[in-house]
């Protein structure tokens, strides 16, 4: 079967199959960007590990952040099956030549932000990622299956922490509301620009990389999340939000903010990238030591 036949019959493309160059490049770009998002995403939450309000919350947060590192690894592994090298992809990230999700360029200024990230950011990620388990590229689809299994705990722990805050003192409720106010719109932007302004979407759909448009997934997220906010007794920061009998319709998204954060002008773009570069540089001696040890103990052929 040739490439198009596999795609037409909803089959899976595997690493050594023939595939159009543009398909390969699109996947490398998307999987790399996804992997970068997982590991950059460790920073805003990692920021709260030492200040988690209880040992229970701390253990949960450590486990979640560790999962995100694992997600990065699964995805770099999937990208490598397309003939690129992980070190190369990290270099591109560090040089600012490959992107990661704009959501991680916002700061986590209170503990409630950790709760809001689990609930909203991981919630939106799940909405995006579940269809990717049926992506036409086998290794990416399999990595997503593993990731999705782990993500549901991320969302639940966030919602649970949010519930505790919203049932707490007036100050805690205020913290929860403030976090929702700041994370709601950036979370909606995670689904990407409207389909009409997303030129590559149609090709990705035709290739079976993407299964649903950005607007549809965003709508599903709004429909799923608004009742959860109501349960928490919190107000979604969107005065135009309305119910049309079938869906919760949100107001206009400020796409200029999205474009600015994408360009590098979000509140934390510089900080996130510098931290990553520093972490990579700080780890150099470990990589060198492992290499030296291995070559010393390599059996002589």
């Amino acid at each position: 079967m040739d490439f198009q036949q596999v795609i037409d019959t909803d089959g899976r493309i595997e690493p050594r199959d023939q595939m159009p160059d543009a398909y390969r490049q699109t996947l490398v770009r998307q999987i790399a960007q996804h992997a970068h998002s997982e590991i950059i995403g460790m920073q805003p939450e990692g920021n709260w590990i030492t200040r988690a309000p209880s040992l229970r919350r701390k253990a949960i947060l450590v486990a979640k952040v560790q999962d995100e590192a694992g997600h990065g690894l699964y995805l770099y592994g999937a990208a490598e099956t397309l003939g690129v090298d992980r070190a190369e992809l990290l270099d591109l990230l560090h040089a600012g030549r490959q992107k990661y999700s704009t959501i991680f360029n916002y700061p986590t200024t209170s503990w409630a932000d950790v709760a809001a990230i689990g609930w909203l950011v991981d919630g939106a990620a799940i909405m995006n990622q579940v269809p990717l388990t049926r992506c036409s590229y086998g290794p990416y689809a399999r990595a997503m299956t593993r990731i999705c299994k782990e993500e549901s705990f991320h969302q639940r722990q966030g919602f649970e922490a949010m519930t505790v805050l919203s049932r707490g003192t007036a100050a805690q409720q205020q913290m929860a509301q403030d976090a929702l106010d700041r994370w709601w719109w950036p979370a909606l932007m995670m689904f990407g620009p409207p389909d009409a302004a997303s030129p590559n979407s149609a090709q990705s759909m035709a290739w079976g990389i993407k299964r649903f448009g950005n607007d549809e997934l965003r709508q599903r997220f709004v429909d799923a999340t608004v009742p959860q906010a109501e349960f928490l007794g919190l107000t979604v920061p969107d005065p135009a939000l309305s119910w049309d009998g079938e869906h919760h319709r949100s107001g206009e998204i400020d796409w200029t903010e999205f474009a600015e954060v994408m360009k590098g002008n979000g509140p934390c773009n510089r900080q996130r990238l510098e931290f990553r570069q520093q972490a990579h540089a700080d780890g150099a001696w470990v990589r060198e030591a492992a290499q030296a040890y291995a070559s010393k103990h390599r059996p002589v052929a």
């Binding site: 595997e14 050594r16 199959d17 023939q18 486990a63 560790q66 999962d67 694992g70 690894l73 699964y74 592994g77 490598e80 992980r86 399999r142 990595a143 593993r146 782990e150 492992a290 290499q291 040890y293 291995a294 103990h297 390599r298």
Partner: protein
Amino acid sequence: MLWEVFVRSRRGLSHTHVGSLHADDAHLALRNARDVYTRRQEGTSIWVVPAAQIVASSPDEKDAFFDPAGDKPYRHPTFYDVPEGLTHL
């Protein structure tokens, strides 16, 4: 170097390929595999194999390679008619 990781999820089952990882030696590969692929008790045993050591059939010769089995339906029990009413066949 790149390693392919195989995990036996529980006793009685075969090791199954779960993914790959980078490590400089086998010992580190095993440790990393434990951390990356068995954080939720997904396994009771791990194999790591240098990816470069795996010899794979080529997708280009897929047809020629697997064709010989294609015209031998008589290798399957469903090829045979079992007379109505008979059991243990």
